[in-house]
Amino acid sequence: MVLKAFFPTCCAAADSGLLVGRWVPEQSSAVVLAVVHFPFIPSQVKEFLAQVQQTSQVGVAVLGTWCHRRQEPEDNLGHFLEGLSAIFSHEPWLQLCREKGSTFWSCKATRWQGSTSPGAPSEDQVMIVFYDQRKVLLSQLHPPAILPDQETGDAAAGAVGLAAVFHTVARSEVLFRSDRFDEGPVRLSHWQSDGVEASILVELAKWASGPICLLLASLLSLVSAVSACWLFKLWPLPFIWSKLSTCEQLRYRLEQLTLIFSPQKAENPSQRMRKANMCVSVLLDVALGLTLLSWLHGKGRIEQLADALVPVADRVAEELQHLLQWLMGAPAGLKMNRALDQVLGRFFLYHIHLWISYIHLMSPFIERIVWHVGLSACLGLTVSLSILSDIIALLTFHIYCFYVYGARLYCLKICGLSSLWRLFRGKKWNVLRQRVDSCSYDLDQLFIGTLLFTILVFLLPTTALYYLVFTLLRLLVITVQGLIHLLVDLINSLPLYALGLRLCRPYRLAAGVKFRVLEQEAGRPLRLLMQINPLSYGRVVHTYRLPRYGCHPTHSWGSLCRKLFFGELIYPWRQREDKQD
């Protein structure tokens, strides 16, 4: 196998010294982490490396020498470097050399053991792969490589392939903590050797987050304790809470906030990302809500809205009345059964009349209600949208009632028809065997059955038409509500922090690596540049999508059509608990 030397780009300009890093024998690759400069005492270097190995659980060792010839070629330095291989023995021993004014490097890897001719070392073919240490340290591979449990000595041994390089660099953070201004025994060169990277804002935020988290966590626990109070469990309140989507949204947000402000630290990167995504999502929600609030409260829009609400409800009721008058006549040229038509039409008209009276009763309070509902926008845009969806449901309650009446009537009719059709053919439904069996009926049974069957068949068009019209109206309302819920879901579950990270710091979310071949010269070792291949936006959304609270349709199109045909009631936007009718 060709020996691969992973060399950090920040050390390419460093002075001569020793190469320190980890040797991965399975892939025959040497991951160079830092360069130790002269002067040094070998025993101190060995002590330092043993310390680092203990703290980071990474098998750090001296891999070879690095020679950067800035002035005229120094032969004594070359001999001195060769002598070091006797002090720090490592198989294989790397010797990297860079000439002044030349972009090409020379590299030698010598092995003493396992060579064919004893007494002379064997040389391996070497390939130099440059990598950006800072980016590799901060990036996270997707899918994450599975790590073994921490009891084994070398924690990064479990990662295979190039993930081993990432793990080695990520785990050796303790090696990168000393910079060149430190007065330690060993002088290192790595990506942070010019000064450890830190941000004062981040440090302040970390310091302040402790007490703030505690305070907010206690507030939130108080709120959840109040909401779990026995007063809210009296019937019919839980029934009402389960039907309103606003309560669901508030509960979901409360859960999210509890998770964000919990005093425990996140253990692994995925939990950290989830917390960050939730935090950004809540902030965006509140920002959008406040924008909506400022828009609503300016220029007297609340009054306009409240004034427009009652006429809109009136208009809807008027249109329904026109529709019913049309159905009671000869709709689309179809001939209805006059008596049944009149009965159904009058019944629904009276219902609308009741509804209109109710709306008119409420009209003086509408403005106050709208004003208070508008205030809820400061809790977030999602809460306002849920309230809007609930208001639509309440205002179109009569359409829902009509749909239920029509569906029940139609369902009864279909059941009756199917059973009498079987009687007409001389068959019966066997409940025990769950199948259709033949049956011999008496003459009077057959007579009455056929009569009823005929009546139901001739009344079918009228009922079917009413059912069709009200089902279409109900589906329209459901579609509008569904669109609002879709928007709420989108705001809830979009991982904005992850998307922002992918946009601004693409190396943090890595799907893999990519290589570029640098300038070559015959006879010199191959030089490659390893760069991070970022995750695509689709995969970012897929991996970091926040869980929704399950308000999505549970039917497929086929089952929906079947239910519509047989007159069964459909509840597409209900939670999974109350699916029974």
Partner: protein, 210 residues
């Protein structure tokens, strides 16, 4: 060492294969398709604008014309950025892996790298799609069962070169992969001679129309 040769793809268009041998363990193959021709661009643009002008004479609304210009511009940008692949590159590095890059006409590059541990073999496969076509693909090992194949990754999907071009690439890749299968450090290891004639696997896979 660089080498350029011209081949043709399955539809008869011209392709240019550029071979670069960086070192005995690293080779690169670059297939370039012909660029977007001015003639097809003009034809499409004029059709769209004529249709828009026809609509404008019918409905007398100038929004149709501005919409047509907008659609043409967006369509062209979208085509250049997401659809038109100008160059496809295969870089094979011994003991590291195989990298496939597609460069789009707008300059976007999409790269996939497969590590050498996962690569089982590089083969030329046969597909039946209206006629018989050949495509080069990389077989990946199953992580659970090392002798099973878990995935087939086709290469040069948009350029679609013919068999003569594929044979050249196949031979070069096999020379490098031979190092993997018979490591040179053990002298008593059985050296498998790289086959001179490519092993074309006859798999009657009805391809999806790509």
């Amino acid at each position: 060492m660089e080498n350029e040769q011209s081949f043709s793809d399955i539809c008869g268009g011209r392709l240019a294969l550029q071979r670069r041998y960086y070192s005995p363990s690293c080779r690169e193959f670059c297939l370039s398709s012909p660029r977007l021709s001015l003639r097809s661009l003009t034809v499409v643009t004029s059709t769209v604008w004529l249709a828009a002008y026809g609509l404008f004479t019918v409905c007398e609304n100038s929004v149709v014309l501005s919409a047509a210009i907008f659609i043409t511009l967006l369509g062209l940008l979208g085509y250049l950025h997401f659809v038109k692949i100008d160059q496809e590159t295969l870089l094979i590095i011994d003991s590291l892996g195989i990298q496939m890059t597609s460069s789009y006409a707008s300059g976007k590059e999409s790269t996939t790298f497969i590590e050498m541990d996962k690569v089982k073999d590089v083969i030329i496969n046969e597909a039946i799609y209206m006629k018989v076509i050949y495509y080069l693909c990389i077989l990946l090992k199953d992580p659970v069962e090392p002798h099973e194949i878990s995935q087939v990754v086709p290469v040069f999907q948009s350029a679609k070169p013919r068999l003569d071009c594929l044979i050249e690439v196949y031979r070069s890749c096999q020379e490098i992969l031979a190092h993997q299968k018979a490591p040179s450090t053990s002298p008593q290891a059985h050296q498998k001679a790289p086959s001179t004639s490519p092993s074309i696997q006859k798999a009657s896979i009805v391809s999806r129309g790509k």
